[in-house]
């Protein structure tokens, strides 16, 4: 939008509310927000989650509720979105909760836990289970309210410069892997490095790191990792269905008219679905292209995954014993997880395995 129009509209909104009186004024209330995100615009699918929210909100309010979306670094660094929302620097943010486990370990449940839930399971726990309710207790401590607003589906395990067959091969390996996945890898002897998006390729190219995880075929192909690391591992057991969140500063939220709150929540729910739809549409052709480029596909061995799963749950238990709130969420999550895998292990997985193997 043109800057002049942007400014003019702000003035027009104020005028309308005074002309039409209080009843109309509420529905026509003119509101401008800034939304900081963790993403570069080049990650169009994930960044698109934030844009979906802004676009839908604008459309549903006839342009009166106007949210300007900023890429990571434009207002604050991509890993400081929660800080910015908490302080009211911006009214809203779009990010991944698990970037903030340094603030509280339970932030991980918002996004994904190693060997945790996939997209549909995650949604079931968040929306119908206790997920959103519990997490919003946590978010409230950070002066925010949060809504699921996107998911990438099961990710890939990432790009390795050499083959990794056993746990022994992981020792001393320098890998870019954030969050709890990183902590599990560290327990297996990996030296974990967290680098921002643009820094990864040159680090991998120059051998400053030996491996990196990213997202999946569609995003990975654009980063060009296949040019500098030929082994492409799967599955990304640490991110089986990460949920991205939109966070809103509590004061900004409470200042919103009820109608706009409903509109915002609807837009977030749509973003939550649309991102998954986008990934499911864009990943298959990208995957085909990567295979055609000679990428060597490798599955993590059961030895590695067993060791990782053991360390993951040991880590969860440790965290639970050191923090009451974490324990509360973990207990709920773990029970839900057990039940749903009993169910998913039946019809869902048998059908998928059969069909995929015959396609």
């Amino acid at each position: 939008m043109k800057r002049r129009d942007f400014m003019k509209k702000a003035a027009a909104g104020v005028a309308a509310s005074t002309v039409f009186g209080p009843v109309f004024a509420q529905t026509k209330k003119k509101i401008r927000w800034r939304m900081a995100t963790s993403w570069p615009k080049a990650l169009d699918t994930i960044y698109g989650g934030a844009e979906t929210i802004a676009d839908r909100v604008r459309a549903m309010t006839d342009g009166n509720f106007d949210i300007r979306v900023y890429a990571g670094g434009e207002i604050v660094h991509g890993l400081k979105v929660v800080d910015a929302v908490q302080q009211g620097t911006v009214q809203a943010g779009h990010t991944a909760g698990y970037y903030y486990i340094g603030k509280h370990p339970a932030f991980a449940f918002a996004t994904a836990l190693p060997f945790g839930l996939n997209f549909r399971q995650q949604n079931a726990w968040l929306y119908d289970g206790n997920g959103n309710k519990l997490l919003n207790e946590l978010f409230a401590d950070f002066n925010m309210i949060g809504f699921p607003a996107g998911n990438t589906g099961v990710q890939m395990g990432g790009w390795f410069r050499k083959e990794i067959n056993s746990v022994a091969d992981l020792k001393g390996l320098k890998m870019r892997i954030p969050g709890l996945g990183g902590k599990v890898m560290a327990r297996l002897g990996v030296t974990v490095q967290v680098l921002a998006g643009g820094e990864i390729y040159p680090a991998l190219e120059r051998g400053a790191i030996d491996a990196t995880e990213w997202v999946g075929p569609y995003d990975d192909e654009k980063q060009g990792f296949y040019k500098v690391a030929k082994y492409y591992y799967y599955p990304g057991w640490w991110e089986p269905g990460p949920t991205l969140h939109t966070f809103v500063n509590l004061k900004a939220w409470n200042d919103l008219p009820k109608e706009y709150q409903q509109i915002y929540m609807t837009a977030a729910a749509e973003a939550n679905q649309q991102m998954m739809v986008d990934y499911d549409f864009k990943n298959p052709p990208a995957f085909k292209r990567l295979l055609a480029k000679g990428v060597k596909l490798r599955r993590f061995s059961n030895e590695i995954m067993d060791a990782a799963r053991k360390e993951a749950f040991a880590l969860f238990d440790e965290l639970a014993s050191s923090d009451k709130f974490y324990e509360k969420v973990y207990t709920d999550w773990k029970a839900f997880r057990e039940d749903i895998y009993r169910w998913y292990g039946t019809a869902e997985s048998a059908y998928l395995q059969y069909v995929a193997s015959r396609s």
């Binding site: 939008m1 043109k2 800057r3 002049r4 942007f6 400014m7 800034r34 570069p40 615009k41 080049a42 900023y70 890429a71 670094g73 434009e74 207002i75 604050v76 660094h77 400081k80 800080d83 910015a84 302080q87 009211g88 620097t89 911006v90 680098l195 998006g197 643009g198 820094e199 390729y201 040159p202 680090a203 190219e205 120059r206 051998g207 400053a208 654009k222 060009g224 040019k227 500098v228």
Partner: protein, 458 residues
């Protein structure tokens, strides 16, 4: 006040404030505060947004690339304080014998390599300024030539891989970093060659500006000269080459290589018995001050950009770009001009964030037809476009009155060198840059040829 004017007014105000002579870092920050007040009083931004300022400073803390800054400054200072740098360049001068301008050519070569390796303008310019400026002045080089050569070579790292500018541009243009590196190799090295040609021309036509070493300094011959070369010239040169080589060979990141370079400089100083507590304390002291000088300019610049965004200056720039004249040449000239001017006050990360997403689309559409024979004309056009923007930014770092490179050099030059010397010294190199940019526009193959022969994708 017409809010549309706030963006351009901010630039004008920074211009005036910096010219008062108050430190650049705080003049930029002060401009930000003045416009923050205007923005708040006109209800365009709220004070809350300023909480992003500490967060942005925290992000500067954690920037792994910038960590290289103190290391290269440390290495440069140590080599300078211990007299090793002077001996190195003097021996090079003897080696070049009666060849006028030899010292300046050495500076272009070493400066280019160092700049290419660190990719950080501040680190290179400060290190090269410390190592080579006093020596060039001692041997009677004109102040203009001496400073111009350093300031210009120091910026070359932006277009010679590995370069942070190119990495960020690649990310924003959605092209492969590797492709941008390959494409920028010929343009970057050509610039370096043109710098050398310019030095040769000065030596030919204005011999006083680039003298040869006086005969009494060139009294070494044969075996003695060989010994001198091996003992005095080789060790520091080997150190610098090892540092650079380890980066190019992928053994170390620029930051790690910088740390090794600094340690190596200490060992060399010990080896030559010019290491003592005073030299060490002096080096550490200078490193702390120079690092702070370089980094505080970034802090000031980040405050400036934050408020610029707060006032929707980014939308102002978008408007400018969206109303561009349609033809390729008009588009290219306007984009280049806007980026050039923004480059004075806003660091390149911000420019890349504001501008590139806006122009990438039009650039791809407008410029792809220029490469009819390519397999993927769009990607090739974007690589070419990215290198051009990199070169443009590099030029603006070097352009008076506000090129960052000139500030940094001013920060390490001796009192007899004035700001005007540095400004005048930069002018011929800017002319070279403009020639280079024009050649890139007229002959896109300068940037794309190597790519088309090395990569099957094009």
């Amino acid at each position: 006040m017409n809010p549309d004017l706030l963006g351009p007014l901010m630039f004008a105000a920074a211009f005036v404030f910096i010219f008062t002579g108050f430190p650049v870092a705080f003049s930029l920050a002060g401009t930000a505060l003045v416009f923050m007040l205007i923005g708040i009083s006109h209800d365009i931004m709220s004070f809350n947004l300023m909480s992003a300022l500490p967060e942005r400073i925290f992000a500067i803390y954690e920037n792994y690339t910038l960590l290289a800054v103190p290391f290269f400054i440390f290495m440069g200072t140590m080599l300078e304080r211990s007299g090793l740098a002077e001996n190195l360049l003097r021996t090079m001068g003897i080696l070049f014998g009666p060849l006028r301008g030899g010292l300046a050519i050495s500076v272009v070569v070493v400066g280019t390599l160092l700049a290419a390796a660190t990719g950080v303008v501040g680190a290179t310019v400060v290190a090269m300024g410390l190592i080579s400026l006093p020596v060039m002045l001692r041997y009677g080089y004109s102040k203009e030539l001496a400073t111009g050569v350093i300031a210009a070579s120091g910026t070359l790292g932006q277009v010679i891989p590995p370069s942070i500018v190119l990495i960020v541009l690649a990310d924003q243009l959605q092209v492969s970093v590797g492709d941008l590196f390959v494409g920028s190799l010929i343009p970057g090295l050509s610039l370096s060659a043109m710098y050398i040609l310019y030095v040769v021309a000065v030596a030919l036509f204005k011999p006083k500006a680039a003298p040869a070493l006086p005969p009494e300094e060139r009294d070494l011959h044969g075996w003695q000269l060989f010994k001198e070369v091996m003992l005095v010239m080789m060790p520091p040169l080997v150190l610098i080459l090892l540092v650079l080589g380890s980066i190019f060979a992928g053994l170390a990141t620029p930051t790690e290589a910088g740390a090794f370079g600094a340690l190596g400089a200490i060992f060399l100083a010990m080896l030559y018995r010019s290491f003592n507590l005073k030299a060490l304390v002096d080096t550490m002291d200078a490193t702390a001050k120079l690092t702070s000088m370089v980094m505080l300019i970034l802090v000031g610049s980040t405050a400036f950009s934050l408020v610029f965004r707060g006032l929707y200056g980014d939308i102002w720039v978008e408007d400018l770009l969206l109303n561009l004249p349609g033809a390729e040449v008009g588009f290219l000239i306007t984009v280049n001009l806007i980026i050039f001017i923004l480059g004075f006050f806003i660091d390149f990360f911000e420019i890349a964030f504001i501008i590139i997403p806006l122009v990438a689309g039009p650039a791809a559409t407008l410029l792809a037809p220029l490469f009819p024979e390519a397999l993927e004309p769009t990607r090739l056009a974007l690589v070419w476009f990215g290198i051009m923007i990199g070169m443009n930014l590099q030029t603006s770092f070097l352009t008076p009155p506000f090129g960052f490179s000139l500030f940094y050099l001013r920060g390490v030059s001796p009192p007899e060198v004035s700001t005007m010397h540095i400004y005048r010294g930069a002018v011929p190199f800017i002319a070279i840059q403009i020639i280079g940019l024009t050649l890139m526009i007229v002959f896109p193959h300068i940037a794309t040829w190597l790519l088309t022969v090395t990569s099957s994708g094009y």
